[in-house]
């Protein structure tokens, strides 16, 4: 499997004296599903923000995307990835269809209408397509951003806590879409829900104290293994 993203010794901080990510090494292959799991405050969202060039305080000795050196803020890298944030209130005055048109324009792509219609159907979002995003409920807003992310079919899709706010049917649809995204690229998603990683992931990264403490793949990806790993880290288990 070819390497998609390689990071060595990634450090990130809000206060330089207190690092959130403490020399993290990350390697993602092409066309795979990677689950990122960890307790509250482990640094999952910070890692996502660093990958999107949104976090100012960070350093990294090696950064490569598809074998080439990368800059998180560079337009070329940005055009290869899309992120769905855990909390998002952006573009509230667009409808979903307008948002899709706008985002596809940013990526220089033409929306595949039939594919988008299919995704809208899977998430049961049809009646909300023309509603302003700001007027949507939390779950429906999340669906609007998720559908856009899946429809772009980019080499790297980042999802921060994608399950939050989704109803049962949409969660099932999301798991199927995450597992099927390998056809187009790699998806890395963070989650507090063990089921979401065990049902979809080829590789699970356990983030502890700012580093990848444990990696599971293949048949090792079981709820028992991951739970044991998290319980060992801290007496509190929020999974």
């Amino acid at each position: 499997m070819r390497k998609l993203l390689e990071l060595d010794d990634l450090k990130a901080w809000y206060d330089p004296k207190k690092q959130v990510l403490k020399g993290l090494d990350l390697e993602l292959g092409e066309h795979m599903v990677v689950g990122l799991i960890g307790l509250n405050g482990a640094g999952k969202t910070t890692l996502m923000n660093v990958l999107c060039g949104l976090h100012e305080g960070s350093s990294c000795t090696t950064k490569r995307f598809e074998g080439e050196d990368l800059d998180f803020k560079d337009k070329t890298f940005k055009a290869q990835r899309y992120i769905v944030f855990s909390e998002d209130e952006s573009f509230g005055y667009f409808s979903f269809d307008e948002y899709v048109t706008y985002v596809f324009g940013c990526y220089g792509k033409t929306p595949d209408k039939a594919y988008i219609d299919g995704l809208v159907g899977k998430f049961g979002f049809g009646e909300y397509r023309g509603t302003l995003i700001k007027d949507l409920s939390l779950g429906n807003r999340r669906k609007a951003y998720l559908i856009t992310g899946f429809a772009l079919k980019l080499p790297l899709l980042l999802l921060d806590e994608p399950v939050n706010g989704l109803d049962f049917n949409s969660t099932e649809a999301l798991y199927a879409l995450i597992a099927g995204y390998k056809e187009f690229g790699t998806v890395m998603f963070s989650s507090h829900i063990l089921e979401s990683v065990t049902l979809t992931s080829d590789k699970v990264l356990v983030l502890e104290n700012g580093v990848i403490a444990k990696t599971y793949s293949g048949s090792d990806i079981t709820a028992e293994n991951i739970r044991a790993s998290l319980e060992k880290e801290d007496g509190v288990n929020d999974v």
Binding site: K78, F85, F94, S95, G105, C106, Y107, G130, L132
Partner: protein, 379 residues
């Protein structure tokens, strides 16, 4: 309760409020140094204070930010009277420090403010706070009472007696108004701006129109921003006319520059952290967002400048002919500078809405245009 509520609107330890007062004092002394005085009757002073402050009180009580703040409050077992008293005090202090202090600065700078006038101004402001809170609280169930409060405020200004009687009358009106707050409960202030308002929009297939449409909807949603734009234009006309009558050749140009102080539009991205973050995360933010944003702002500024120049001439202003040719240049500069600043230097460290309104960044454009207006005046 006061402390909990004030943290949101006035900042930690009232830090934002103090900063805003400091800025207003700075502006007051800056404008005072111009040395121009305009005669103003007590009735106009009181009417301006009541209408301006009252509008802002109602706008603050009905804002989406407040809806979020109160949602948590309603879930708590709070004492009704103390909560309402704290809520009224915090709202009043917020309006006073963030917006009314600027009005006070203008009065201080351009008209003779004796102690007697300051007392009238303060009493008029208190009437606006108590009356505004009461009018807002009654509006949903008894809108006719709200109308009575507004009418009483305007009537108080028009029927204001002279001398000490004015102070006594206004103080009595304040006491009565404050007393009527006892008939209200916190429940009367519950608002949910988005509840039941699911709006469908018609989507056209023209990507070029997406950003103008976005900005248009943003302004229509915040109608107060449109009114504040008209207020700024009105103030600029008043300011420029008086300055011209006092022999200032560049008065019209200064008025144009004053129109460009329009923070809601010039800080649309800064005011929405989610939008700012998303734009940073997406590729081509300059080409796909900030260029069309700038073009839309150009049209917006052009309309505002057009309104200003038309009103200036209708009101008898004379020196504005050359500025008809310059207005598009100012509009283009305003659009470019605003878009550039929002793109490269968005305001990120704000905690309250007033932190954005009074950020020094918003004065860059008016000052730049003011200098240019002065240069044009010397040609």
């Amino acid at each position: 309760m006061f402390k909990m509520l004030s943290r949101k609107l006035l900042g930690e330890n009232c830090g934002s409020a103090l900063k805003n007062v400091f800025i207003s004092v700075f502006i007051a002394y800056g404008l005072y140094s111009i040395g121009k005085q305009i005669p103003l009757s007590e009735k106009v002073l009181v009417l301006t204070a009541v209408v301006f402050s009252g509008t802002l009180v109602i706008q603050t009580l009905g804002s989406a930010d407040n809806a979020k703040l109160l949602r948590g409050l309603f879930a708590m077992p709070c004492d009704e009277r103390r909560t309402l008293a704290g809520y009224t005090a915090v709202t009043g202090l917020y309006v006073l420090t963030s917006k009314v202090s600027l009005l006070a600065a203008l009065f201080f700078s351009f008209t003779k403010m004796t102690t007697y006038r300051w007392v009238l101004f303060l009493l008029a402001f208190l009437y606006a706070v108590f009356g505004g809170v009461a009018a807002f609280g009654h509006f949903r169930k008894r809108p006719y009472i709200s109308v009575l409060y507004v009418a009483a405020g305007v009537a108080a200004a028009f029927l204001l007696p002279d001398g000490k009687a004015a102070v006594i009358a206004l103080a009595a009106a304040d006491a009565v108004c404050a007393g009527t707050l006892f008939f209200l409960k916190m429940e009367n202030f519950r608002i949910d701006p988005t509840a039941g308002r699911i709006r469908k929009v018609r989507t056209t297939g023209r990507p070029a129109m997406l950003i103008p449409r976005y900005l248009g909807r943003y302004l229509l949603e915040h109608k107060a921003y449109i009114f504040s734009t008209l207020f700024i234009v009105g103030f600029a006309v008043f300011f420029a006319l008086n300055a011209e009558r006092m022999g200032l050749d560049i008065a019209c140009g200064m008025g144009l520059a004053a129109v460009s102080i329009n923070s809601p539009v010039s800080t649309m991205v800064s005011a929405n952290r989610g939008l700012d973050r998303k734009l940073d995360a997406l590729p081509a933010k300059t080409e796909k967002f900030f260029i069309p944003f700038g073009v839309t702002l150009f049209c917006f500024y052009l309309v505002c400048f057009g309104l200003f120049l038309a009103a200036f001439h209708i009101a008898g202003g004379k020196g504005g002919i050359r500025y008809i040719a310059i207005a598009p240049v100012f509009a283009a500069e305003g659009a470019f500078l605003t878009s550039f600043l929002e793109n490269k230097y968005p305001i990120k460290t704000w905690k309250t809405e007033a932190d954005i309104t009074h950020n020094p960044r918003k004065y860059i454009l008016p000052i730049a245009l003011m200098i240019e207006a002065a240069l044009v005046g010397f040609i």
